[in-house]
C-alpha cells in the first residue's frame, strides 16, 4: 500500500502495522543548523554573563571556570537534555517536526539518547559529520553510527488532516448524466485518484483545477467515446456515476 520508499512499517504486539516516515538528509541538516544557532546563542549569553562576573564581581577566575563548564554541558549535554524534555526532539527537530524513536517505534530512554549523542564524536569524523552522512546514505533507514548503535531512527511527526468529504457543486443534473455510461469502465485506482482530486479541488484555484483534470480527462473521454467542455466537471460526473449516484 505504501508507495513512499521513506516509510518504515512497524508492527505492534497486536499485529497492527503502522508506518513512520523517515527524516531525510535535508531535513536533518536543517534541524542541525538550527541547533547550532541555538547552542551558539546560549554559549554567547553564558560567556557574556561570565564576563560580567569578571568586570563587576572581580571574580574572573570563577566566571571563566563556569563558562568552560557551560561549554562542556552545551557541547555534550544539549541533545540528551532536549531529548529528555522534548519527547525525543531537539529544538531544531521540533521546528522541522522531527523526532527520535527507537527502531520499534517506541520513545527513546536515557541509554539510547546518551549513546546516539556521544557517538556524534565518531559521526563527526573526519570533519563536518562526513562519516555519519556516508553511513546514513548506505543505511536504508538513513541512520548515522550513533543511531545504529543505539537502535534509533529519526522520523517525521505526522499530523495529517483528513481531507474534506467529496461535494460536487453545482449539483449533478440529469441532463449532464445522459451521456455518461451507467457503469463507467474505471479501475479501482483510477477511481481513487479521481476521488483524491475531487477532495483537493476546494484547495485549488480554478485554472489549476482544470489543468490537472486535463491531464487525465482525455484518456477517459476516449475510452468512453465522450465529448466534454469542462474536464473537472467530467471527472466529477464519472465519479458520481461510478459510486452509483443518480441525478
Amino acid at each position: 500500500m505504501n508507495t513512499l520508499d521513506s516509510a518504515i512499517d512497524v508492527e505492534t504486539p497486536e499485529r497492527v502495522r503502522f508506518s513512520f516516515r523517515l527524516a531525510g538528509p535535508a531535513q536533518r541538516a536543517a534541524a542541525y543548523l538550527i541547533d547550532v544557532i541555538v547552542r551558539g546563542t546560549v554559549l554567547a549569553a553564558v560567556w557574556f554573563v561570565a564576563g560580567l562576573f569578571g568586570v563587576i564581581g572581580g571574580a574572573s577566575g570563577v566566571g571563566v571556570g563556569l563558562a568552560l563548564l557551560a561549554l562542556f554541558v552545551v557541547e555534550w549535554g544539549y541533545y540528551v537534555a532536549c531529548e529528555r524534555f522534548m519527547n525525543g526532539a531537539s529544538i531544531g527537530k521540533r521546528v522541522l517536526h522531527l523526532r527520535v524513536v527507537r527502531s520499534d517505534g517506541l520513545p527513546i530512554g536515557f541509554p539510547e539518547s546518551l549513546l546516539r549523542n556521544l557517538l556524534r564524536a565518531a559521526d563527526f569524523l573526519p570533519f563536518g559529520y562526513a562519516l555519519g552522512v556516508l553511513v546514513a546514505f548506505v543505511d536504508p533507514r538513513f541512520r548515522r553510527l550513533g543511531d545504529l548503535a543505539a537502535s534509533t531512527m529519526v522520523v517525521v511527526e505526522r499530523r495529517q488532516p483528513v481531507l474534506p468529504a467529496v461535494v460536487i457543486r453545482p449539483a449533478v443534473q440529469a441532463r449532464e448524466l445522459e451521456a455518461i455510461p451507467l457503469k463507467p469502465p474505471l479501475r479501482q485506482d483510477e477511481l481513487e485518484a479521481i476521488e483524491l482530486f475531487l477532495r483537493r479541488a476546494s484547495e485549488l484555484n480554478v485554472s489549476r483545477e482544470q489543468e490537472l483534470a486535463e491531464l487525465v480527462a482525455p484518456v477517459f473521454a476516449r475510452r468512453m467515446q465522450l465529448g466534454y467542455r469542462n474536464a473537472a466537471r467530467l471527472l466529477a460526473l464519472l465519479y458520481h456515476r461510478a459510486r452509483g449516484g443518480v441525478a
Binding site: 500500500m1 512497524v10 505492534t12 497486536e14 497492527v16 503502522f18 513512520f20 571574580a59 574572573s60 577566575g61 570563577v62 571563566v64 571556570g65 563556569l66 563558562a67 568552560l68 563548564l69 561549554l71 562542556f72 555534550w76 529528555r84 519527547n87 524513536v101 527507537r102 527502531s103 520499534d104 517505534g105 517506541l106 520513545p107 530512554g109 536515557f110 541509554p111 539510547e112 546518551l114 549513546l115 556521544l118 557517538l119 564524536a121 565518531a122 569524523l125 553510527l145 545504529l148 548503535a149 543505539a150 537502535s151 511527526e157 505526522r158 499530523r159 495529517q160 488532516p161 483528513v162 481531507l163 468529504a165 467529496v166 479501482q188 481513487e192 476521488e195 483524491l196 477532495r199 459510486r243
Partner: protein
C-alpha cells in the same frame, strides 16, 4: 459497503477524542483505559481503511494517531529515565567486572606506552623532544619547578576545574565514541595519552622536580587515569562487537554491546568529575606532601575496591536486557 465519507463521519468523534487524550500531560486510570480502547479501535479502523483503499490522506491520519497512541501506551518513558543513580552505583561496577578482558586490554594500551615514555625520557632526555615540542616541555618543567606549598589563587582553581571537566571528559567521550571504528579510535587515544603523560612525568622528573609532580598528580590520577582506561575499554567493546559478532548480525551485535557500554561511559564521566574537583582544588593546595600521598593511596584503594566489591549480589535490573533487541518471533 460503506463509502469513505460515511466511514469518516461515523468514526470521526472517536478519533478526535483519542487526539484530545494524546495531547494531555497527565492521564489518570480511567483516561488510560479509555485511551487503550480508543487505540484498539483506531487500529482496526486503520486496517479497515487500508483494506478498502480509502485514500492516502486518511491512512496517513490514522497512521499518525495509532503511532502516537502506541508511543503513549507502551512507552513508560518516565521510569526509563530515572535510572541515573542506579546506573552509577550498581550497573557501573557490575559492567566493569563483566568487561574485565577489555579493561585489561585498555590498561595495557595505556600503561605500556606510559611506561615506555617514562623510561625512555629518564634514560635519554632527548627522547621527550620526539614526543612533544620543546616549548611545551619547557612549560611543563616550569609549571612544576615551584614547590606547590604556597598553593594557588582560588579564582585560578575555579577556572582550572572548568577546564578539566571540559577537556578530560571530552577526551574520555571521544576515546569511547571512536571505538565504533573497529576499536581504532580508542586504541589511538589510549596509546597517545599514555605516551604523552608518561613523557611529561619523565621529563619533569629528569629536570629534578619529581617530588612536585608526584605530589600534584597522586590525588586525582586514580580517578582520572582509571576513567580514561574505562572509557577506552568501553570503546574497545563497541569495536570488538563489530568484529566478533557471536550468533548475531553485525548490527545486532553492535546494539547489544552498545547498550552494555552506557553504564561504563556514564561511570567514567562521574569519575572524571571527581578527578576534576580534586585536581583543581586539592592537588595544587598547600597541604603537606605526606598527606597528599596518603590521600592518593586512599583514592587508589577506593577505586579498586569499588570495582571489586560494589553492588555484588544485587539483582540484575530489567533495563539491562534491552527489550527491543530480541530475536525474531520463534512462532
Amino acid at each position: 459497503m460503506k463509502t469513505r465519507d460515511e466511514f469518516v463521519v461515523q468514526k470521526q468523534s472517536a478519533w478526535s477524542e483519542l487526539d484530545s487524550l494524546l495531547v494531555r500531560d497527565r492521564l489518570d486510570g480511567s483516561d488510560l483505559s479509555r485511551l487503550s480502547a480508543l487505540y484498539r479501535a483506531v487500529c482496526s479502523d486503520l486496517m479497515a481503511a487500508r483494506a478498502a483503499g480509502f485514500g492516502t490522506d486518511l491512512l496517513g491520519h490514522l497512521d499518525g494517531l495509532a503511532a502516537r497512541a502506541h508511543a503513549v501506551l507502551y512507552g513508560h518513558g518516565r521510569r526509563r529515565w530515572q535510572t541515573g543513580l542506579g546506573l552509577l552505583l550498581s550497573d557501573f561496577p557490575r559492567k566493569l567486572r563483566e568487561s574485565a578482558p577489555f579493561m585489561l586490554a585498555a590498561a595495557l594500551l595505556f600503561f605500556v606506552p606510559f611506561a615506555l615514555g617514562l623510561a625512555s625520557t629518564l634514560l635519554s632526555p632527548k627522547f621527550a623532544e620526539t614526543v612533544l615540542p620543546p616549548a611545551a616541555l619547557e612549560e611543563m618543567a616550569e609549571m612544576y619547578s615551584k614547590s606547590v606549598s604556597e598553593g594557588r589563587e582560588s579564582g585560578t582553581n575555579a577556572t582550572m576545574a572548568g577546564f578539566y571537566v571540559m577537556n578530560n571528559v571530552g577526551i574520555a567521550f571521544r576515546c569511547f565514541a571512536t571505538g565504533i571504528l573497529f576499536g581504532v579510535g580508542s586504541i589511538f587515544f589510549l596509546v597517545y595519552n599514555g605516551l604523552v603523560i608518561g613523557t611529561v612525568v619523565g621529563h619533569v622528573t629528569a629536570v629534578g622536580h619529581g617530588q612536585n609532580i608526584l605530589a600534584f598528580i597522586c590525588g586525582h590520577s586514580a580517578y582520572e587515569l582509571g576513567a580514561i582506561v574505562i572509557s577506552g575499554a568501553a570503546g574497545l567493546r563497541l569495536g570488538w562487537s563489530l568484529i566478533a559478532t557471536g550468533n548475531l548480525t553485525r548490527l545486532g551485535s553492535l546494539r547489544v554491546a552498545a547498550l552494555g557500554t552506557v553504564p561504563l561511559i556514564a561511570g567514567a564521566a562521574g569519575m572524571l568529575l571527581i578527578a576534576a574537583a580534586v585536581e583543581a582544588f586539592w592537588s595544587p593546595s598547600s597541604i603537606p606532601y605526606p598527606v597528599k600521598y596518603a590521600f592518593g593511596g586512599a583514592s587508589l584503594v577506593t577505586v579498586f575496591s569499588f570495582w571489586a566489591f560494589a553492588a555484588r549480589g544485587t539483582r540484575r535490573r530489567d533495563h539491562e536486557k534491552p527489550s527491543h533487541v530480541t530475536l525474531e518471533d520463534p512462532a
